[in-house]
């Protein structure tokens, strides 16, 4: 029964879906942590203890103090088989070239990192020219910077610009200074690399090293050393993983959806044939099995095609992901087994899932339908269907509220995706019930004097509600998705920005420019109120998890209080934040003033502090406040993120000045940009898909309607009238889909807005990106009109009267 012609659309739909799934999963499987080049020669690496945080928070491990490091290095170096044990120190140092920070590719974290010269050995770095750094003020730089040995160079460090002399060049990113200098700039150490003697077995050395380190760290060999990759790379990779997972999930869902509507359509078109089969003795089950069998064949074929295309596209997409910042620059595409297997299975599985409802309908076709015209369906919509649709819409609504009230943006995004899926599925299931009334409401676009075409259009669209619904379904999906996701992202971004701006009481804000942060010298030059963030670790052995990481902000209390409108002191006084051992905690920390509070700092030292004040949780953009001097003393490489100033000033090197609304809007700009790109990517996937599906279904419909249209021609319609008829019909159907989709999305957006407003405590404006919506609807409309007008034009060309597709009633 398999007809090539009929199966093409389903095949194309499956193939596109599997292409996306295959590409996404191949990329997903390739996104493994890479062993940093800098540590490639260290067969065994000892890492300081994990921070007690969720794995996707990308907090660095808790460093060892200088004394612990020295003790560990001594004992590890003495192990048999170990040629050298080298502590890996990393600190902020960015060379200025022509007076500007070099390495403007801000995503490459290692471009502005400094290390001790000894650790060059861990990566097998060799001087390509000059001498190693031996004294303070000497530095070896990347030869890509274009500097020569002997020339002076300015390094931006946390303290400010420092004068150095280039003594040598290497072929690798970052700068290397003398080891004593590195030890003062990075007193805390997070990794010790072991260079092995020739012939030593890494596993054996690792076992011995474990005995020495015990609970005070972990020992990594082989690929496990990927855990040492730069935290920003890990974070970027994680974002990429979210993007790819979502894309694969969306592609799978959309495919099921589109293939389902294609199959539904095929079944609707084949009612007469199915009825004939039933009449000559096929049982319902046989019909069902036949439909399943076809789906299986189509699915398997589409799956293989999709896998081939997806496999071919993966490297290109991988490069694109790196360029857009969804994957770190170390990302390489490899061909793992499981994505291939998954894609091979995905085709048939998607197909079978999609054909489920169509097969039930096919089995219900009654033998008599062989004798009736197929266009008029007897039961437009069943009660079970209405119940299912209502349930899905309800679930979608609930998930939308979850989206709005979820604490974290990532969680919210996931909820949103599921909410859209549920809402869209619900709307599609309900669509046939709504099509009739909607068409009656939409009479105006096709009402013309004499209105024969209008009559035909309305009758065609509203009698064959299922056909209309299955053409409208992809439009519905696409529009609902685009409106909901784009609207949600825009609305959320705007709401957060509004909240941020509301909290700040300053005229202008100084932020870093082409640098990860502002140096002390730059901060001093602004004479404003600065925030100096550093990561500290809670060292209370009684409250698990151990080593819980916290963001501490080093501040000047008076200035901070003046610039922060949201500050509410619950107990104690912020003015007492001045001694070496003082700390201000949020209420959720459950401490009272004068209580002791122990923390481990970035230099690995454990310090017992005294609580001087407690503030409300939303008073501070971090976890706790420390005097600025305390942060600086324990973290020589800490960089200032933000400086609040009263009046507009000239920004120092590596800094920019922005006004408060501008700052609020761009505070998360890098992240917002990624989120928006991600959103557009998902919308493009679904819109492209939707448009293909619309065209697909309409092409099928056109083939099935040749006979009808011929009749209309014979009844006296001109060719132009017939073209106008099919065009108007398609436009009407697209319009119906867009309206339904827009309505569904609007409901979702309203609940998201309500949740956001509740959360932020301020009214939130609904932001709709009309350009995206217009683009999506326009694309569907264009393809729909082309896909219906062109084949009709062709089939109505004067020529042999007999239709090429079998008998015609």
């Amino acid at each position: 029964m398999l007809s090539i012609r009929r199966s093409v659309s389903a095949f194309v739909a499956v193939a596109i879906g599997v292409t996306l799934v295959a590409a996404a999963t191949l990329l997903l499987a390739s996104g493994r942590p890479q062993v940093p080049d800098r540590l490639a020669r260290a067969a065994v690496v000892v890492q300081s203890p994990e921070a007690g945080a969720s794995p996707d928070s990308f907090v660095p491990t808790r460093p060892w103090s200088a004394t612990t490091t020295a003790k560990l290095v001594g004992r590890l170096a003495a192990l048999p088989g170990v040629a050298a044990a080298v502590p890996d120190r990393t600190f902020y140092a960015q060379p200025l070239v022509d007076g500007r920070p070099a390495g403007t590719d801000g995503r490459r974290e290692d471009a502005h990192q400094g290390h001790g010269w000894a650790s060059a050995r861990l990566g097998g770095l060799r001087l390509t020219a000059g001498e190693p750094p031996r004294r303070p003020g000497e530095v070896v730089v990347d030869r890509a910077l274009g500097l020569r040995p002997g020339v002076p160079v300015t390094l931006l460090t946390a303290a400010g610009p420092q004068a150095y002399t280039v003594t040598g060049l290497v072929d690798g990113p970052g700068v290397h200074v003398a080891d004593e200098v590195a030890a003062t700039l990075a007193p805390g150490v997070r990794a010790i690399g072991l260079v092995l003697a020739a012939g030593a077995d890494p596993e054996r050395v690792a076992t011995a090293a474990r005995g020495i380190v015990g609970a005070d760290g972990s020992v990594l060999t082989g690929d496990a050393r990927g855990a040492l990759e730069p935290r920003n790379d890990a974070r970027t990779r994680w974002i990429g993983m979210q993007v790819l997972t979502a894309t694969a999930a969306l592609a799978g869902f959309v495919t099921v959806f589109v293939v389902a509507s294609t199959f539904a359509f095929t079944v609707a078109q084949r009612r007469r044939e199915l009825g004939l089969l039933r009449a000559v003795g096929a049982t319902g089950r046989q019909v069902r099995r036949m439909v399943y069998g076809e789906a299986l064949v189509v699915g398997a074929a589409g799956g293989i095609a999709g896998l081939l295309v997806g496999g071919g596209l993966a490297p290109l997409l991988g490069r694109l992901l790196v360029d857009t910042g969804f994957e770190p620059s170390t990302f390489k595409v490899g061909y793992e087994h499981w994505p291939v297997a998954l894609s091979l299975v995905a085709g048939p599985v998607i197909s079978l899932l999609a054909v489920w409802s169509a097969s039930r309908r096919a089995a219900r076709v009654r033998p008599l339908e062989a004798l009736r015209d197929a266009a008029v369906e007897q039961r437009p919509i069943g009660r079970l269907r209405i119940a299912t649709g209502a349930l899905l819409v309800a679930v979608g609504g609930a998930l939308s509220v979850g989206t709005a009230t979820a604490g974290e943006a990532r969680v919210a995004a996931q909820y949103a995706l599921y909410a859209v899926m549920a809402l869209v599925a619900g709307a599609t299931v309900l669509a046939p019930a709504v099509v009739g009334p909607l068409v009656r409401m939409l009479r105006w676009p096709v009402r013309r004097p004499g209105g024969a075409i209008g009559m035909l259009v309305r009758a065609g669209v509203s009698t064959a509600t299922r056909r209309t619904a299955s053409i409208a379904a992809p439009v519905l999906l696409t529009v609902a998705f685009a409106v909901l996701v784009a609207g949600m992202v825009r609305t959320t971004t705007a709401a957060y920005a509004a909240g941020r701006a509301d909290n700040v009481n300053a005229g202008w804000i100084v932020v870093p420019d082409r640098a990860p942060g502002l140096s002390d010298q730059a901060v001093a030059a602004t004479r404003g109120t600065a925030l100096l963030p550093t990561t500290v670790y809670e060292s209370d052995p009684n409250s698990p998890p151990a080593n819980r990481p916290l963001t501490a902000l080093g501040v000047d209390p008076a200035g901070f209080a003046a610039a922060n409108r949201a500050l509410t002191v619950v107990a104690g006084s912020l003015n007492d934040l001045s001694g070496d051992d003082t700390v201000v905690l949020p209420a959720s920390a459950n401490r009272q003033p004068a209580e002791p509070y122990a923390l481990v700092f970035a230099d690995g030292e454990s310090v017992s502090l005294r609580v001087v004040a407690v503030v409300t949780d939303d008073s501070i953009p971090g976890d706790l406040l420390l005097p600025r001097s305390v942060v600086r003393a324990h973290d020589p490489s800490a960089l200032t993120s933000t400086v609040y100033v009263e009046d507009r000033i000239d920004p120092p090197i590596g800094a920019r000045i922005v006004d408060v609304p501008g700052w609020a809007a761009e505070a998360d700009r890098a992240e917002d940009r990624l989120v928006w790109l991600f959103t557009l990517l998902l919308i493009a996937v679904s819109a492209g898909y939707g448009a293909v599906a619309v065209a697909n279904t309409l092409l099928m419909a056109a083939a099935g309607r040749v006979a009808d249209l011929r009749l209309i021609r014979l009844a006296g319609a001109t060719r132009r009238q017939v073209i106008w008829l099919v065009t108007a019909e398609s436009a009407l159907v697209v319009l119906i889909g867009a309206l339904l989709g827009g309505a569904v999305a609007f409901v979702g957006l309203l609940s998201i807005r309500a949740g956001l407003a509740e959360q932020a405590g301020v009214p939130v404006d609904l932001v709709l990106p009309w350009s995206v919506v217009g683009g999506v609807v326009g694309l569907c409309l264009l393809l729909a009109v082309l896909a219906s007008a062109l084949p009709t034009w062709r089939s109505l060309r004067p020529g042999p009267a007999r239709s090429p597709v079998g008998i015609v009633g």
């Binding site: 029964m1 398999l2 007809s3 007469r272 044939e273 004939l276 089969l277 039933r278 009449a279 000559v280 003795g281 096929a282 049982t283 319902g284 089950r285 046989q286 009654r366 033998p367 008599l368 062989a370 004798l371 239709s803 090429p804 597709v805 079998g806 008998i807 009633g809």
Partner: protein, 257 residues
């Protein structure tokens, strides 16, 4: 008394509800003896097709029973009914007889294949040969003329050797030569194989091939002829009925047999 392959008792069929309610069959009781050829005639809308559908188990009557080869259809479930159709009943419709994606030979063997059997190629060839289409086995319906398609449907009815073949205006769309061919084939089913044929037609010339003619009006059997049937006689009887239309409603139900 001859045995009846098909027996209809008190058949009533109703379409639609409320103001759109139409009574298509209004108490039809009759039978089709095995090894006979019956033509069902009557004005358009008189319920001929409905009668055929009910008798063939394609539709369920609102009241009354249909018995085929001793099996009461109203006792059967959907799947049993399907199997009965597959094994005992053949169809030839006015159009849409064939699955367009299958070849002629595949269309012919379809009912047997559905029953899980695979007829020998020889049987299929013989059936096609019997309808004069031996050289068209590999063609698809789209490549056949209307009359050829009807003959393929007859071949399909031949191969399962059904107890009864129902044909709804099988020659409605054919010219007189093609019609004659199809009618002769149906006649041969009765004469050579002893099968039972029930055919709806508007054409007195077609009815002349039958052993018996049932005349329907307003869902009732209003007249019946058997014996020597010629086109002229049938035409005369129909014209006679049309001359006194007022009597339709008052006419008693046709004689049962």
């Amino acid at each position: 008394m001859t045995t009846h392959t098909v027996t209809l008792t008190g058949l009533r069929a109703v379409y639609g509800t409320g103001t759109r309610r139409v009574t298509a069959l209004d108490g039809v009781t009759t039978g089709f003896a095995s090894g006979t050829f019956t033509a069902v005639m009557g004005p358009s809308g008189s319920g001929k097709s409905t009668l055929l559908h009910c008798a063939a188990g394609l539709d369920r009557p609102a009241e009354g029973t249909v018995t085929i080869d001793g099996t009461r259809l109203d006792d059967l479930g959907e799947d049993e009914l399907t199997r009965l159709r597959r094994d005992r009943i053949g169809f030839v419709f006015q159009a849409f007889n064939l699955v367009t994606t299958l070849t002629t030979a595949q269309n012919v063997e379809l009912p047997l294949r559905l029953a899980g059997r695979r007829p020998p190629a020889r049987d299929v060839a013989a059936a096609l040969d019997a309808v004069g289409l031996a050289d068209r086995a590999g063609h698809r319906p789209g490549e056949l003329s209307g009359g050829e398609q009807q003959r393929v449907a007859v071949a399909r009815a031949l191969i399962t050797r059904p107890a009864v073949v129902f044909a709804d205006e099988p020659t409605g769309a054919l010219d007189s030569a093609a019609s004659r061919q199809v009618l002769r084939l149906l006649r041969a089913l009765v004469d050579d194989q002893g099968q039972t044929v029930v055919m709806v037609t508007h054409d007195p010339a077609a009815a002349a091939y039958a052993d018996r003619v049932l005349l329907l009006a307003d869902g009732r059997v209003v007249d019946e002829m058997d014996g020597e049937i010629t086109a002229a006689v049938v035409a005369a009887r129909i014209a006679e009925r049309e001359a006194r239309p007022s009597e339709h409603a008052a006419a008693p139900a046709g004689p049962s047999c």
